[in-house]
């Protein structure tokens, strides 16, 4: 399937930059979705940036001393403090009179949406010029697939197991975009590794914002979602094609859905490929379908309009 952007993209933006700022030979699992997200995001941030990573899969696979995959200056401190560390980096650059360097915060759903969320909120409140790249694989994968705030409804994880009385995660995914809107973030986007040009263009926009910006990227994880590693991109695309993951941007409060499938595929197509949903009954899938349709329509109806 080819990408059909709802808005015109300039020709120069239809090609991926050739620069690779994430070196080959990292320890990522075969089929790692997060790795694709980071690799493409770095193409957009460019070499004149400093990356602050939170503890997580990406930090572990990219930095086993003395080998590093990072070709930008890079710092990892702790799990929950990436936004605060980045705040310090940004302030120091200002204090030392170094302009033009963009500070990028990279973290997973645990780091940026759960344990480190307080630090994100504080840095947003201060309007620090940071770009947050949330690589969302929908659970704590580095520690072995535990439920997080962005784990979707019904998903099996090791801490939301499907048993005789429980059917996986009992609450839906946190809506990070709305939380960002609540902080007055001027550029917010969601992206998918299945649509890399869209992803790169969004990150490019995000790093050019004077102030905070946020890009939430869906990153399928073969280990945690239970699917064969060669299906990563297929599953990422199905998420978009079923409406389970909508790619859009919110610029100064105005919503723009950057890709709308002609017709949504049934969510079942997406769910059945993943072992984490295999315990779901027809009725459960029906509920997920109904919730998905509702939120998709809700968003489509607001396309081009203000969300504030």
């Amino acid at each position: 399937m080819t990408m059909k952007p709802s808005l015109k993209i300039e020709k120069s933006k239809l090609r991926l930059p050739e620069t690779e700022l994430f070196g080959p030979g990292s320890r990522a699992c075969a089929g790692c979705g997060e790795l694709l997200a980071v690799r493409h995001a770095l193409k957009a941030t460019g070499s004149n940036s400093i990356v602050v990573s939170a503890t997580g899969c990406m930090e572990v696979i990219s930095s086993p001393y003395p080998e590093s995959a990072w070709k930008t200056p890079w710092i990892h401190s702790l799990f929950e403090n990436a936004a605060a560390v980045a705040s310090g980096v940004e302030s120091a650059l200002k204090a030392l009179g170094k302009s033009g360097i963009r500070v990028v915060v990279m973290g997973g759903d645990g780091a940026l949406a759960d344990i480190g969320f307080g630090a994100v909120s504080g840095a947003l409140d201060r309007r620090q010029s940071l770009t947050y790249i949330l690589t969302d694989n929908e659970a704590y994968m580095n520690t072995g697939i535990q439920s997080s705030g962005t784990t979707p409804y019904g998903a099996w994880t090791t801490t939301t197991p499907a048993g005789a009385v429980k059917k996986g995660k009992e609450t839906p995914k946190k809506d990070l975009v709305r939380i960002m809107l609540g902080h007055g973030v001027q550029y917010i986007a969601t992206a998918s590794i299945a649509y890399p040009i869209d992803l790169v263009n969004k990150v490019k926009k995000a790093v050019s914002v004077d102030g905070p910006s946020f890009v939430h990227i869906s990153c399928p994880c073969p280990i945690g979602w239970h699917f064969p590693p060669e299906k990563t991109v297929e599953i990422a695309r199905l998420a978009v094609d079923t409406g389970m993951w909508i790619i859009y941007e919110v610029e100064r409060g105005i919503l723009r859905i950057t890709y709308k499938p002609d017709r949504l595929k049934p969510v079942r197509d997406y769910l059945v490929l993943q072992g984490r949903f295999e315990h779901l009954s027809d009725a459960d899938i029906e509920k997920i379908q109904s919730d998905c349709t509702k939120s998709y329509e809700n968003l489509v109806n607001r396309d081009g309009k203000s969300l504030i």
Partner: protein, 396 residues
């Protein structure tokens, strides 16, 4: 030479820090450290200090922001206390492991529960193993001077460790004392600009904070430990240079000895209690009682040799401290006892837990400690292994 002014402790320390020209300050309010960062916020607001001031949402983020700032090559500062320091715990280890010379004033305060805003030293003592240099000030002037010295020590390329300047909450932070603020020009001469070899810059993309597997981790810790051993020498050198450059009387480096030469009993402590101890000792000396004071100025690195040389001829020592490792005893006492174990001379060691949660330690109580120490020296065994000084037994 600066001029003598009457200033509140917290404000005085802020003035000294201002003259060290930190590039980034990150802070979160907590009593009694707040006045330090409030003063610095005013300096920044007035343009007297050109620094980025980050109002963070927690102490954990305060220290984290300084980790980020220091890794870019900025000189950094924060101040905190008690629960705030405890909340920083995780990141303290990280700052040290990353070898970032952050300087922070700790306004020593008790830890909850029960909640207490008043002074003791449980907060910083509890961070003993976090990899921070810990210096304890006796009075406001020493706290002021210690800030300048702390930057010099911490930023020394052979050291590169973060440093805490510990000053007793309220007793020093809120007291008004005549102090001399090290003048800006003189501080500039004494403290070279911070320019670390390794920093985050796009021209030379380094990776900070990588993970180390079992074949590398130990060596990182060894190097940190070596840096602490190096810091012992640096603290001595910097303290002596400081006193010469700024015309101060010598108030010690790793330790300070007060009338210990022929002392049969030596009182050992840290922080503001030292002033009271010296005063009590002066009174006792007038009565011909041979007693002295040992001030431990650096708790980490721990000056084992210096302490031993200072107490080895005494018959007994009494360690009076404002902290307790519950279930065992006072932390300072334990360190000294462990040091004596391998040494030929072993004065009797008595431990007193005092001043917890801000309880006053008056001179009569100190006199009782001295009496007990002499009694022990004469062979009478102390009743309790760990004695809580001035314990209100009627309440228990």
């Amino acid at each position: 030479m600066g001029r003598l002014e009457i200033m509140q402790g917290g404000a005085a320390v802020a003035n000294a820090v201002k003259n060290c020209e930190p590039n980034v300050i990150a802070a979160y309010p907590i009593t009694p450290a707040t006045i330090i960062v409030e003063s610095l916020a005013e300096f920044v607001a007035d343009g007297i200090l050109k620094a980025e001031y980050i109002n963070v949402e927690s102490e954990h983020s305060a220290i984290s922001a300084l980790i980020g700032a220091s890794s870019v090559g900025a000189r950094t500062f924060s101040a905190t206390s008690s629960q705030g320091l405890a909340l920083m715990h995780e990141a303290l280890f990280n700052a040290s492991g990353l070898r970032l010379p952050v300087v922070m004033v700790v306004a020593n305060r008790a830890l909850s529960a029960p909640l207490s805003i008043w002074n003791d030293q449980q907060d910083s003592i509890s961070q003993r193993d976090s990899g921070w240099i810990q210096l304890y000030a006796e009075d406001v002037q020493e706290a002021v001077d210690m800030c300048v010295q702390a930057y010099r020590v911490a930023e020394d390329p052979k050291v590169l460790l973060p440093a805490m300047v510990c000053m007793d909450g309220f007793i020093l932070t809120h007291v008004y004392e005549p102090v001399e603020i090290p003048p800006l020009e003189e501080v500039r001469r004494f403290l070279p600009p911070f320019n670390p070899k390794n920093k985050l810059i796009p021209e030379c993309p380094l990776s900070f904070g990588m993970f180390a597997d079992p074949s590398f981790y130990t060596e990182f810790k060894y190097l940190q430990h070596t840096a602490f051993m190096e810091a012992k020498k640096t603290i001595k050198k910097v303290a002596s240079e400081f006193c010469k450059s700024f015309g101060r009387d010598n108030y010690g480096d790793l330790i300070q000895e007060y009338r210990t030469k022929d002392a049969e009993v030596v009182l050992v402590s840290m922080g503001s209690l030292i002033g009271t101890l010296k005063d009590a000792v002066d009174d006792l000396r007038e009565k011909g009682i041979k007693v002295g004071v040992l001030k431990v100025r650096s708790f980490r690195p721990f000056p084992s040799e210096e302490i031993y040389n200072s107490i080895k001829e005494a018959k007994a020592i009494a360690v009076i401290e404002k902290d307790i490792s519950l279930g065992l005893g006072g932390a300072l006492l334990l360190e000294i006892r462990s040091e004596l174990y391998s040494k030929p001379k072993k004065p009797i060691t008595l431990g007193f837990i005092a001043g917890l949660g801000g309880r006053d330690i008056p001179k009569p109580s100190i006199n009782r400690v001295v009496e007990k120490a002499f009694a022990a020296a004469e062979g009478r065994k102390a009743k309790e292994e760990v004695e809580f000084l001035d314990l209100r037994k009627e309440m228990i």
